[in-house]
Amino acid sequence: MNKKRRRAMARWGWLFLGPVTVAFIIGFIWPFLQGIYLSLCKFVLTRDAEFVGFSNYLDAFRDQSFMHSFWYTGLFAIVSLVLINILAFTVAYFLTQKIKGANLFRTVFFMPNLIGGIVLGYIWSMIFDGILSHWGTSILLDTKFGFWGLIILMLWQQIGYMMIIYIAGLQAVPEDMIEAARIDGASRTQTLFKVTIPNVMPSITICTFLSLTNGFKLFDQNLALNGGGQPFIQNADGSVIKTTEMMALNIYNTFYGQNSTSRGLGQAKAVIFFVLVAGLGIAQLAFTRKKEVQQ
């Protein structure tokens, strides 16, 4: 790069960075800071917020339904993370072997990812109920059905997407390494675990990160498939725990509740949710990064 060009970049660089920075501040930094401030307030409209301190956070931790959604979401995220990645990797592995129609399969597996979450939720709720009605029950009547129903839906939707990432990773594994392993007498399993998997660790990092955060942030599928968190457990005092309600849905339902403090409470839950997802995401990235190898 010559000097003249560098000077031009220094002079005009701000012009190109400027809009992005402004957009980032308007679209992310400012709302984020305002969100944190609002979690410490009581409000109906954001411009009339009244500062109340940490009471919203205390209420959030005391809220049984929020705690329930926390454990439920955690369980869901772990189960979906494991299943999605194992299955996506397996599919990708077979589709990188020389199978007839591999491209067609790739397209077909990827397609569910193109359908919106709400639509998927409704379609699958009808499919599950079509089956479950033979036993006189419904996906809305049993937490277990709700949980596994959502897992199946997510697998169906996400495997294709993760598969594409894994296929890219698998295709980048150097052929000579695999050949060397074969010449050294490694079995297929040994080659898979000692050569292929360490080489696709970057893909695994991305896919686990995506499926973990997707699992935590899940909203529309949960709303549509589980009928807003059914079935509900009714405590003796009449209070209600929505057994299949995940955190994002819980926050949404809280925010639009009727109590005048409910918006602040929803906002506080959202901040807790952010800290949790960000923390887990970073921890997971650090963990899988360590396992990556240099080619």
Binding site: V44, T46, L140, L141, Q230, F232, G238, Y256, G257, N259
Partner: protein, 424 residues
């Protein structure tokens, strides 16, 4: 050079975008409507008003079931709605600080009744009814007669039950069933958890001898078993088995229009949709086995109440009040609105053409009591109804006294919990 031009263009686009929100008009009307079915008519009326007076009227309709969310975000904008809906006590609680006191305004003086107005705890007139509705059981008299019954014979629960059960038993032979489907998904469950359950609230009010003016802390559930009787009658004698209702997917309106069923649990707003196919469709009350119900009328009330934004500019408020006044006094506008809304309770609005509301008037003329919409006081309404639906789903899958006990808990204890929560 090309690059520099592009950069400048980008800057301009950004600057224009930033400045676009800065212009401010004087004295305009912005109505946030919550009835999607009325959207078209409102836009037409708005255009008429603009053509006539030059005042700009903007109509925005919230998508079905998202009014509360839309209102929250619209009210937070720099040009918030000047006219919006506060339809029940929950809405009053949340939005009263944003509502202008309508007492003594020109539009309030046009009202023919105070029955559909909402006040806050300080006595401020927060919102005024702009139309009212009624609900009950829609009947297709032609089919009923085909099955060998007359509408006049159905005067209480026993006669309704006899007819419905007989029709259901002979459904194959008759070619139609007693009730249309009773889906419990969110597009339809409110017909029971919001409307039919009103019979319990109303009869509780009646037994106590007073009308609720705010959400009571507790309810007794004295008439929940009457609700059960009627609900069971609907789901047991319908086109769709009760076990298949949880996730919905059936089209009750279409079943009624195409003559697949005699009875349809719904409200007056359905009139324009069904009148073409079933011109003599009429409506009967929720007969549920309460003593003296031969004198029952329909459930009348409204959630359609206008509120004017107290934080809007004076000019906008004036423009909005003028527009409202015009809506209920201009013959042509009020005719259009009445056709869409049913009835407008204003001195100079045109009379209703809605057959179900006419049925309601006939009941009143015959000395029957009107069941008011006590259901508007349901506390934390979304959560309350959600728990109620969940319990009903379990009951539909396994209709026993045990599962019914959970429904009762949702109705009665659920009320107390949510009422306490809503008070915060």
């Amino acid at each position: 050079m090309k690059k520099r031009f592009l950069a400048i263009a980008l800057c301009l686009v950004l600057a224009v975008g930033l400045l676009a929100g800065c212009s401010k008009d004087e004295g305009t009307v912005y109505w946030l409507n919550f009835k999607p079915e009325s959207d078209e008519v409102l836009k037409k009326v708005a255009k008429m008003y603009t053509d006539e007076t030059g005042v700009e009227v903007k109509i925005l309709t919230a998508a079905s079931g998202t009014y509360s969310q839309t209102l929250t975000s619209e009210m937070d904008k720099s040009a918030p709605p000047t006219l919006f809906v506060i339809g029940n006590s929950a809405g009053v609680k949340t939005w009263k600080d944003y509502a202008l006191d309508l007492k003594g305004t020109k539009i309030a003086n046009e009202l023919s009744t105070d029955a559909y107005n909402l006040y806050d705890d300080t006595g401020k007139l927060v919102s005024i009814g702009y139309c009212y509705e009624c609900y009950g059981i829609i009947v297709n008299p032609t089919l009923l007669e085909k099955a060998g019954y007359k509408l006049d014979d159905i005067k209480n629960f026993a006669s309704l039950k006899a007819a419905a059960e007989d029709i259901h038993a002979r459904a194959a032979e008759l070619g139609f069933d007693a009730f249309t489907s009773n889906d419990m998904d969110s597009s339809s469950s409110w017909r029971y958890t919001g409307h039919m359950i009103n019979l319990d609230y109303y009869y509780e009010e009646k037994a106590a001898g007073k009308t609720w003016t705010e959400c009571p802390d507790t309810i007794t559930g004295a008439y929940v078993d009457n609700f059960r009787q009627l609900y069971d009658l609907c789901v047991n004698n319908s086109t769709v088995a009760r076990g298949d209702l949880a996730t919905g997917g059936h089209d009750a309106q279409n079943e009624f229009k195409t003559g697949k069923a005699v009875f349809y649990v719904q409200g007056s707003w359905e009139y324009s949709a069904v009148a073409d196919s079933v011109p003599n469709a009429t409506m009967i009350p929720y007969y549920c086995g309460v003593d003296g119900e031969e004198k029952a009328g329909l459930n009348c009330g409204t959630e359609n109440c206008w509120a004017v934004n107290a934080k809007a500019s004076k000019a906008d408020q004036e423009a909005t009040l003028d527009f409202m006044y015009w809506c209920v006094t201009d013959p042509e506008a009020s005719k259009l609105l009445v056709e869409s809304f049913g009835v407008m309770p204003y001195k100079n609005a045109v009379a209703s053409t809605n057959g179900f509301l006419k049925a309601s008037e006939d009941y009143s003329k015959a000395g029957c009591y009107v069941m008011d919409w006590a259901t508007n006081y349901q506390p934390n309404v979304d959560d309350y109804r959600a728990a109620f639906v969940s319990a009903l789903n379990a009951y539909n899958a396994d209709p026993t006294d045990e599962t019914w006990a959970a429904v009762r808990t949702a109705i009665v204890e659920g009320w107390a919990t949510q009422a306490a929560k809503a008070k915060g």
